[in-house]
Structure formats: structure tokens, C-alpha cells
């Protein structure tokens, strides 16, 4: 296991590269997901506003 992490002495380079990749891809996935939820929430709020405008 230690050998695997050490990557023949290049561990720092290899793992930081993979780490940054995980960060970049993960952030993209997260932001995409969040954007979808945010739009739905915003539209729901607009809808609520419309209902309030309707006369009783």
C-alpha cells in the first residue's frame, strides 16, 4: 500500500495531479447540480409570487 502511495518516488506529483482532477471534475458536477436546483427554486418562488397576486 505504501508502495502504491509512493508511486516510485513520484507520489507527490501523481497524487496532486489526480487530486486536482478530482477537484475540477467534482466542482463541475456539483455546480451543474446546484444550478439546476437553484433555477427550480427561483421559478417556484416566482410561481408563489404569482399566486399571491391572484385575487382571493
Amino acid at each position: 500500500m505504501a508502495e502504491f502511495l509512493a508511486m516510485g518516488g513520484y507520489g507527490g506529483y501523481v497524487w496532486s495531479a489526480y487530486g486536482i482532477a478530482a477537484l475540477v471534475l467534482g466542482t463541475n458536477a456539483l455546480l451543474a447540480h446546484r444550478a439546476e436546483r437553484a433555477v427550480l427554486r427561483e421559478l417556484a418562488r416566482d410561481l408563489d409570487g404569482d399566486d399571491d397576486d391572484a385575487t382571493a
Binding site: F4, M7, G8, G9, Y10, G11, Y13, V14, S16, A17, Y18, I20, A21, V24, L25, T27, N28, A29, L31, A32, H33, A35, E36, A38, V39, L40, L43, A44, D46, L47, D48
Partner: protein, 251 residues
């Protein structure tokens, strides 16, 4: 055939279909990533010259391929948006830009990290890396232009023109940077050329490339869905959808 395609261009229809596709794509991405990472980090033998540092290739090369692939998708979407004014194409283009820029950034960073153990410096003005750098500027420019224009549709179409100007320039840039590189470094082999690649090293690379592609598709579909909701916010189907979601939240 056009009626078949037009069905998909309908935003509502695409929204419904893409939700299904996204889950499948996410699953496929996870499986392929796991397979590719295992192959790249464990199974593939260490390189004769570079040792284990070569394993960065499994991030660097797929990122670089994706940075160009996404740009080509954007150029295609841009052409469709300009010629036929298809809203879905406009949304696709705007949704893809941050993803393409991310891949380009990743290619550059992993290229630099790989460069340090290979040649001792964090950056070399290698032809391919330099071309990637210019590509990043193209992406940032498209995102900046898109951001600067208020109206969504105008922004998308302006970004489309810029993307197409860029796509014509990409071969020109690529060629001129290669010219420039050999001019200043002499006719050496481009530093990222692998002489001949062992099949055990190659398969994880291809798997990762496909994994990155399915990742892009899953992520861009999520962004496209947000865009569709924004475009069609006043239609009945969106109001129904949102109303239903809100009902579920309250009820």
C-alpha cells in the same frame, strides 16, 4: 427525419429525456472511471524511462482531448444556433463553455505537474502545451463575452460567432505554434510524444477518455436543463413542473 430531430429540439421533450440519460451517463462514468483508474494506477506497468510519474497521462491526455472535443461540440452547436436559430443549440453552447475551460485548465495543470519530474521545470513552451494555453484564452473569451451581454439569446449567438471565429483559428494557431516551437527548440521530438505505447498502458487511457466524455455529457445535460427551464420559464409545462415540485416540497 426532420420531424424526428425536431422532437428533440423541443425543449420540453429534451428536458424529460435528458433526465433519464443523465442518470445512465453518471452511472457509466462512475464505472468507467473506476475501471480506468484501476487500470492506470495499478495494472499498467511503470514506464521504462519515467517510472510511475507517467501515470499522470491518464488525466492529462483525456483532459486535452476533451478540451478540443468540447470546443468542436460548441462550434457545431454554434453553427446550428446561427443557421437554424435552434434554442437548444444556444443553450448547449453556453452550457459547454465552463466545462471545456475546466478540461483545458486541467490539461495545463497536469501537464505542468508532469513536466516537473520529467524535465525539471514547471513549464516548458512545448508546442502542445502552448496551444492548450491559447485554447484556454479562447474559452475564457467566449465565457466573458457570454457574460457581458444581458439578453440570453443575443449572448448565445454572439458567443457562437466568437466560437466559430475561434474554430477557424484553432488549426492556424496549432500550426503556427508548432512552427514557432521547432524554430526555437530545433527539430526534437515533441516532448509529450510517447514512443510506442504498450497495450496495458493504452487501454486505461482509452477507458479514461470515454469516461471523461460521458462525464462531460452528464454534466452538460444538467446545465442544459437549467438553461431550458430559464428559457421556457413562462410556459405551462415549466409551471406545471415547478408547481409539482413545490407541491411535493410543501405537501
Amino acid at each position: 427525419m426532420f420531424t424526428f430531430l425536431h422532437k428533440y429540439a423541443s425543449l420540453m421533450h429534451f428536458y424529460r429525456l435528458s433526465t433519464r440519460w443523465s442518470s445512465v451517463l453518471a452511472l457509466v462514468t462512475a464505472v468507467l472511471m473506476a475501471w480506468g483508474l484501476y487500470g492506470g494506477l495499478v495494472t499498467a506497468p511503470a514506464d521504462y524511462q519515467q517510472g510511475d510519474s507517467f501515470r499522470i497521462i491518464y488525466i492529462h491526455v483525456p483532459s486535452a482531448w476533451m478540451s478540443l472535443f468540447v470546443y468542436m461540440c460548441m462550434a457545431g452547436a454554434g453553427a446550428v444556433a446561427l443557421i437554424w436559430r435552434i434554442k437548444l443549440a444556444e443553450i448547449w453552447l453556453r452550457a459547454s463553455a465552463p466545462l471545456g475551460a475546466s478540461f483545458t485548465f486541467l490539461a495545463l495543470v497536469t501537464g505542468a505537474i508532469w513536466g516537473k519530474p520529467m524535465w525539471g521545470t514547471w513549464w516548458v513552451w512545448d508546442a502542445r502545451l502552448t496551444s492548450e494555453l491559447i485554447l484556454l484564452f479562447l474559452y475564457l473569451g467566449i465565457m466573458a463575452l457570454d457574460n457581458a451581454i444581458e439578453d440570453r439569446r443575443t449572448a448565445a449567438r454572439a458567443a457562437a460567432v466568437l466560437t466559430l471565429i475561434g474554430v477557424v483559428n484553432i488549426p492556424i494557431i496549432h500550426y503556427s505554434v508548432e512552427w514557432w516551437s521547432t524554430l526555437h527548440q530545433g527539430p526534437t521530438v515533441t516532448k509529450f510524444d510517447a514512443p510506442s505505447i504498450h497495450v496495458d498502458m493504452l487501454i486505461p487511457l482509452l477507458v479514461m477518455a470515454i469516461a471523461f466524455t460521458t462525464f462531460y455529457l452528464a454534466a452538460v445535460l444538467a446545465r442544459v436543463r437549467s438553461g431550458i427551464l430559464a428559457y421556457d420559464r413562462n410556459t405551462s409545462w415549466v409551471r406545471e413542473l415547478v408547481g409539482g415540485a413545490r407541491g411535493n416540497a410543501h405537501g
